[in-house]
Symmetry: C2
Subunit: 441 residues, 2 copies
């Protein structure tokens, strides 16, 4: 009998019914009746059983005063997971950790990455119907601990997966630094045989409102069927569970600490909308990068860089320290408005530029494009060597700079590469509807 | 004759018609006819004349092949601007510089703050119909050069204006650091006899699409008539010119480099909507701070602080430098997700906290609230002394910390004040509609 996570009262009742995780059950009380698949439980309350409903969501219901009946015993067939040796999978799921692969630590109540990819798939058995998958646990870390050296390992694992004949790759990853990793992989994998879909989850798998199953399911669908050879982040598109969005890896940002639709495209449109219930991928922009014949990996990063967010009262001597003591090679400035800082910083920037340090300007507004030709300050900053980086997101400009510095030493070549649109990180055409609509009533 | 800025062809034609700036004229060509007030011109093309239309916008039209007729000669009555000595104004306009008070430098084509408040009012003579105003030029700086010592001077000028009997105060200010100043004034002026309305402009006054006249007009309306005693930023609410929004000074951010509706409330609702054409102020939330009997100013700031935006690869030794060498007193961390950094930073944070340095956590997601109880990393960060700062914006938390550090030395009192909601900077109740809606088609 398989009743993982159940204890006490719920375990008693489920055992007596001879029910297993994966069976279809019905639970009814006075006013309602819910049908769905019995899921593993991580609830601290031992009277709760967890059911996955037809809309993909889990719901936790107390067994107290409830009637449970087994509608369908599902034979415990082995999951459609390929052992590592078999090479005929269509989609490879590479797990790096994060909420999408986590469960509650009972001792502290906190969430910790622990579940294997196989266990994740248990949450969404329907994945077996859309693709033959193989699974690999590359790391098991919370994504706030992700680092440039690990980006390289992920890029290599992706290349290896395509070399083995997979049509697409899914990367399960924490959401905290998901966008940084997406940018790093975008610059590292400029030629791709298929989609690389990064996916995370904002609510852990054991919570009723978890976005894990739907995000994972639609990511496998994308990895198998999307027509592009690009790195995307695929997450809930809005607070409903009707669709997910595939955002270009260099034009996306986590915009909310907890919402399921936290990831949104900035200064760009998403590449595709995934209507997961209909198993349909709707391409939102036709100018995607098509699949290449082969996958090439060129993943190296120099993290002698700094992301400087300007604010009133900023002490210019911090810049001198970065240059003189830390010997950094580049600074991405998150300036104000169209790309400014106080003119008090000019001398330090001038000195840094003379030392051959790259200085790039982005905006803390996030939306829009820097333009350093409108105001006197912008012109003065350019004169001392600060380069306006168009509409690049500060975080993406930073990751790009790490990548560029690992490939070039000549400052003119570095500037040139930073201003060249390598993988869609610079969007020369903005449209009014890139700016979201606030509610004002 | 008053024809400021006109040269060449346009000057010739206007002179022959004996027309003055401020007169109502009509210009017609084959297909269209436009009626409005003749405005000063700063166009580089000497054939362009600028007309302010009834909807408040300026439009530039070439005199070539056009017929111009004077509909109404307006007597050049002196503007309703009080000289400094007269104390019976209702609204005081304090100008600090920025686009709202700027014109094009002909020699470089760049924009520079230069216009006097009187000149600004010329752009919107209707202001005279809603309030008796008096004007003061406090600074003439681009707001990227704003600094904590200048915040204090603005706060004092506001107090002085209320002491002289004004009903409200308008601060004309550049948009780059407008939100930082709004936060600084909010903490400095906890008791206010009336509204303090900060206003800027995203497009300079000489451009047809300038938001200066409408923003200024509706700000004077707010300053005179709004029922609250709070510091707000009042700017275009959406791309149309139908209304402006008054955002609470500690819950607003510049979210776009160039759009007129760049300023938006984050994690909160705006306080009011100003339907300027109808001269109507619609209060959007009833829980505003009402007017106090007197205005008190308590404006001091300690800028031995740092705003640290975390990213993968961040070098923890930078924190040691801030603590050991720069002797800073506090760090606002702009962490990832719910409030995290790599655990590699733990040792440096621990050391900093032991040295009595305040460490506060905000999120680079911008939207939402930090929660450092969900994941192991958050708990570890709290254990070494990092304080989760609820839903405060990183920039607001930084300004608040500067203010708190100038008032307290005891670390427990500092922590306590940082977690106390002083002027609405912490919003304990979020609603789903605070997150804007992206377009996904």
């Amino acid at each position: 009998m398989s009743l993982e996570g159940y204890r006490g009262k719920a375990l008693d009742i489920l055992s007596k019914l001879n029910v297993n995780i994966g069976d279809i059950i019905e639970i009814s009380r006075d006013s309602f009746k819910i049908k769905g698949i019995l899921m593993p439980s991580y609830s601290r309350d031992d009277s709760i059983i967890v059911i996955k409903m037809e809309n993909g969501y889990n719901v936790g219901i107390s067994v107290d005063n409830s009637k449970i009946s087994v509608l369908e015993k599902r034979i415990q067939k082995p999951l459609n997971v390929m052992p590592e040796k078999e090479e005929k999978s269509e989609v490879k799921i590479i797990s790096t950790g994060g909420t999408i692969a986590s469960k509650i630590e009972y001792e502290t109540g906190a969430v910790r990455p622990a579940l294997s990819t196989e266990e994740i798939i248990q949450f969404m058995p329907e994945i077996n119907e859309i693709a033959k998958i193989s699974a690999e646990i590359l790391f098991s870390i919370l994504s706030e601990n992700m680092s440039p050296d690990k980006w390289i390992k992920i890029a290599e694992a992706i290349k290896s997966a395509f070399d083995k004949g997979n049509l697409g790759v899914v990367i399960a990853h924490g959401t905290d630094t998901l966008a940084y990793t997406a940018a790093a992989l975008s610059f590292s994998l400029k030629k791709l045989q298929g989609p690389v879909v990064l996916v995370g989850s904002q609510r852990s798998s054991d919570r009723p409102s978890s976005d894990s199953p739907i995000n994972l399911y639609s990511s496998v669908l994308l990895a198998k069927k999307a027509p592009f050879g690009e790195v995307v982040i695929n997450m809930h598109g809005e607070s409903s569970d009707l669709y997910t969005l595939a955002h270009r890896g260099v034009k996306v940002r986590k915009m909310h600490t907890s919402r399921r639709d936290a990831f949104q495209s900035i200064n760009d449109k998403p590449l595709a909308k995934v209507l997961w219930l209909e198993k349909e991928i709707k391409i939102l922009r036709p100018d995607y990068h098509t699949k290449d014949e082969e996958t090439t990996v060129d993943s190296k990063f120099d993290n002698r860089v700094f992301l400087l967010k300007y604010y009133p009262g900023f002490d210019p001597s911090f810049i001198d320290y970065l240059v003189d003591t830390k010997k950094i090679r580049g600074i991405i400035i998150e300036g104000t408005g169209l790309g400014h800082t106080s003119t008090e910083l000019l001398d330090s920037f001038k000195k840094a530029a003379k030392d051959g340090i790259f200085l790039g300007m982005t905006s803390q507004c996030i939306f829009g494009r820097v333009n350093m030709n409108v105001y006197t300050t912008g012109r003065l900053l350019q004169q001392v060597g600060v380069v306006p980086l168009e509409d690049m997101l500060p975080e993406v400009a930073l990751v790009k700079l790490m990548w560029v510095l690992a490939h070039e030493n000549d400052i003119e070549k570095i500037k040139n590469l930073m201003l060249t649109n390598l993988v869609g990180e610079i969007n020369s055409r903005h449209s009014l509807d890139f700016f979201p609509r606030w509610y004002h009533e």
